[in-house]
Symmetry: D2
């Protein structure tokens, strides 16, 4: 597994966190379950936003729908209430219902009052279509797979052709899971914003590296039909309005790589902060929260942009070869970067 | 099963269609599956927007999220692309994943190219929480139930404690499924707009009838934790922008009954028109469509408002007694209307 | 000047504040300038949200566009930044530019650094079209009129045919300016939410009183071409997301009176709270704020609904006769209420 | 006046139109009035979307608010009704009210029934803050200036430090007005999409050229406080939903240059098509319109992205030196491109 920086590609100007991963945000964990057989190349990736009772002590969250050609679950409620109360699961398009069911059962196992003594729970599942490399009609993901992805979660994030990223494609190359992070100083104390992406977007030939090179996968260009899910995590003191604005800036990171949010690409951003938890049963009618001054928002915006851009590059650099349905494969960006640096396209821009 | 007009309550001034139902829109069908045992009082309601290949020949559609405390599936894509490509299923909150899976399998059965030779499909499922009268943790709805609801669809709409409405509550009374319609003349030709509601909203004591009476269920008022799903169907020539505006007016119909879109109430409106179909594989780069002049929109707005208001009253008038989980019951509005007309609350407004 | 309660009409169940006015929110003031000559019946109404340096110490604010057929100024920035930094001016549709200029000059007079040493200022002006009773082409409102309205502001709110309300029409009756308020207890301490409306909406014959009566102005019904501006003020501890949700509920108050947000009606809600001020030059990168628990939001929602409904009724009850352009007049609701209580329309609903 | 292509910089892969300007869209004209004295460096730029009676025969239009830190006029109504009924004026932040008044008078001069026999008119004015180079407090722009800009409109678009662009700054360099276009073949017939930008955004040091070079203005970096207005024109058959999606893609063009929609940057996109005109007094209740198939939307999206990116580069390449308020100046990108190509920043990305 390679990362973008091993090839000398480190987009932006802000310092990365120690892992350069979403798990640099204290308490965030990531787990994968990979399903790989002849026609099935898919899986589940779980982001655990914090340990403990997520339903009882929700996280402040927000959504940005860059292009809503997508079938994610739970976004409407996050946008209205500004809270996240389950882990976030990523999977293939036809795995959303099953992963939703798994999250409901997982939440009930932790909080048996859900739906009986108190309100229901909002499962959050995002997806991309891995139908080129995997037989999506098989609906191969099970509730057990989803549970195992949650249980597998840890601080080390495996990238590339793994979990929900197993069968993904980006810019004509093999895509998948990637992550990155940026550090922000606020009143002398260190904060971090991390991104994790499920990269399945971008038309072959459109990728632009930060230095202007345009890697060509030398496959027949297809219409951009993919998608990208960006999960942003931070410990910055943000309220819902601010967090939604931060999410919007992930779109700038996507665009810097040459994409333009294609018609068929479901480009969705989901962000949360571990600051400003929201209790399910608040003890008082009024609570205190902390908010970053808007004059400092540019740091958070730039971090969201840079971390998203680098997480995508990491997903592509880490991706390993997958032979999929009907023998389909996609070239590796890492191969291009090792061998093809001087070729690119004849016209640099 | 009673209807609102049998009690002399006919909100608004526009003429109803022949069935005074969403199925007055040509081609629209509705089917129910009711699950009723001791602790389980739930079900599935299917709205088939048109016969034939919905995926291949999509309907123009739009969404209005009045209050997004809800877990519906498929709304993000409807809002972006302005199309509906499956039947609409209504069910309880924890049945959304299973009904989504059922719709995917139903769509594949009709169009085996989905997800393999062409793109995936966007299942649309809306929900309310029937947890007071039904054990929602049981996740009792199966994919087979969803399939049977689709197969059961016809032009006669059973209302009240049926299908997804089996365990619903509204304004402290028994709620459920209701429908109504309004006729609109456009250039001399007759059009219709119909509403079907899953009514599970409103705080006890808040209901106001069109004549100002306020039926009191004489139960302890609880926080409004319900929801309402409104499905609007029409054959008016509307584009996506117009249809979204029509959907917004369903909120006026809800408010006229005394509700105010409570914090815990997921109030969602989904509208479609049978005019202006959108082919999955268009034969040409440019297509023609028809659009109603905005100067005539007030008729569509008023129709959406009136049909929604009456559909809710029909749901409540038709509802029959359900003994639910832990012996819970709710009084019937039809009983109040028959017996209690002179009582109401002491303060008329 | 009469008020709705003098006719026994007091919508809702929550207690009104001592003045039953937006100025029950401590620090809020309202002023009018009325322009009335033969063909000119227009004016300016100023809401001063708080005394002192509004630009230096902004208010948390939010917007709800119910129907965007309107030409208001400043809403886009309020929606993005969640702050209000000037008084709010209400006027006729063609007075917006002039009132914006007046607010800019007023702000500079208070803060000479605006636009030179620091950023610019966002003037907030809302409007309705009084073109039936006033010659709007005359563009009669001057910057001096706007300044005088600000200077005239006090705690007593004159209602009816005054200020921006001078030439307004509602439901075929004379409309204008109205206000109302509701009290909310939060952890034992009293809070208030007040509404001020510029009521210029509603088709003749559509008005429904809380007791079900339908006052008929007995004029020829016209297409609903009016608009309504609702300004909500409160001292509740709300953040931007919450305040936007509160604003949305003003729409329920409008709908309860029989309107359905007609195509030609620009129905706009602007809300602010005097809690959680936002400094222009914050001293620290992180600030504290207070937020009401969402479980208590229903009180704020109900208050917004009830205060809006009563403010509209107050505008109509207080309105006095205006003979406008081409001799146009509109009947008074207060006359109907005094004389016509037993007539109404023959069909009560 | 230089253009980006003269320096070998031609972003994207689509062919430009014959003028490579917004006026490649048949019927679109652009005019400027430049105000330049010691402390005043500002102006007005007018885009005439089509000749003739714009109010009587409106254009289909849409808005994308990328970052709403802006004071534009008229956007709320464009978003709701999907129509444009006046020329678009661009000016400085404190000129919006005056330009709005001018547009009202201009519209009345063409259609004396406005506001008297028919409804009012929605003036559309967008702005950026030129306060560094111009004394914005002077409110120097007059209604006559706005009128003259409209009258000056023609097919040749002057770029750079002209009209509303006179005092603008971008990425620490002199900014201003720029334009570009892209051609699209639809069923064998040629269409065009053009962009015109008022570029006043971007932090010094952030600019990235398509080849990866990062021009450094060698001035002290300031917080990004600027803004960018993008006007997109096309003759593609789009409806409002499609046009709004096209507008969103202008954000990708902005991001490709290194910006991330900074907190203080009002980034607004306004688009219109000359196809699908909307009559003010439609003769029938139903009209026909044409719509491009969504499967072809990627061409329109890519065109919006590329044209925006190149229009910004053209604005910066064409900009000429302006000595502004307090002697302030900004370096020229054209100088950097001529002289400084080998310097850039030491770290290429």
């Amino acid at each position: 597994m390679s990362r973008s920086r091993e090839f000398g590609i480190a987009p932006g100007i802000m310092p990365a966190g120690p892992r350069n991963a979403i798990t640099d945000v204290p308490g965030v964990k990531v787990g994968h379950v990979t399903l790989s057989s002849r026609d099935i190349n898919t899986g589940v990736t779980a982001i655990i936003p914090q340990p403990g009772d997520l339903f009882g002590d929700k996280l402040t969250a927000a959504v940005e729908v860059i292009n809503g050609f997508g079938k994610s679950a739970g976004l409407v409620q996050v946008a209205e209430l500004g809270t996240l109360e389950t882990p976030i699961l990523l999977t293939n398009t036809f795995g959303v219902g099953t992963c939703s069911n798994a999250l409901i059962r997982w939440a009930i196992s932790q909080r048996p009052d859900i739906g009986r003594e108190t309100s229901t729970v909002n499962p959050v599942v995002c997806e991309c279509n891995d139908g080129v490399l995997s037989d999506i009609q098989a609906m191969a993901v099970t509730e057990q797979d989803a549970m195992r992805a949650i249980e597998a979660a840890g601080q080390d994030v495996v990238e590339g052709s793994v979990g929900a990223g197993t069968g993904m494609i980006a810019f004509g190359f093999k895509g998948g899971i990637g992550t990155a992070s940026r550090q922000i100083l606020l009143q002398g104390s260190a904060h971090v914003l991390g991104a994790l992406v499920l990269a399945n977007f971008g038309k072959a030939g459109d990728l632009v590296l930060p230095d202007g090179r345009r890697p060509d996968p030398r496959i027949m260009a297809e219409a951009e039909k993919g998608s990208i899910i960006v999960v942003l995590a931070t410990d910055l003191p943000l309220d819902h309005r601010q967090l939604a604005r931060v999410c919007r800036r992930a779109g700038a990171g996507i665009a810097r790589l040459g994409a333009f949010y294609g018609n068929g690409s479901g480009d969705i951003v989901l962000g949360f902060t571990t600051c400003n938890r929201v209790p399910h049963h608040p003890q008082a009618d009024v609570c205190q929260l902390e908010r970053m001054a808007d004059k400092r928002m540019d740091d958070a915006f730039r971090a969201a942009c840079e971390a998203t851009q680098e997480a995508i590059l990491n997903a592509m650099c880490a991706a390993t070869a997958v032979e999929g349905r009907n023998g389909a494969t996609r070239p590796l960006l890492s191969d291009w970067l090792r061998d093809g640096q001087n070729t690119g396209t004849s016209e640099p821009f």
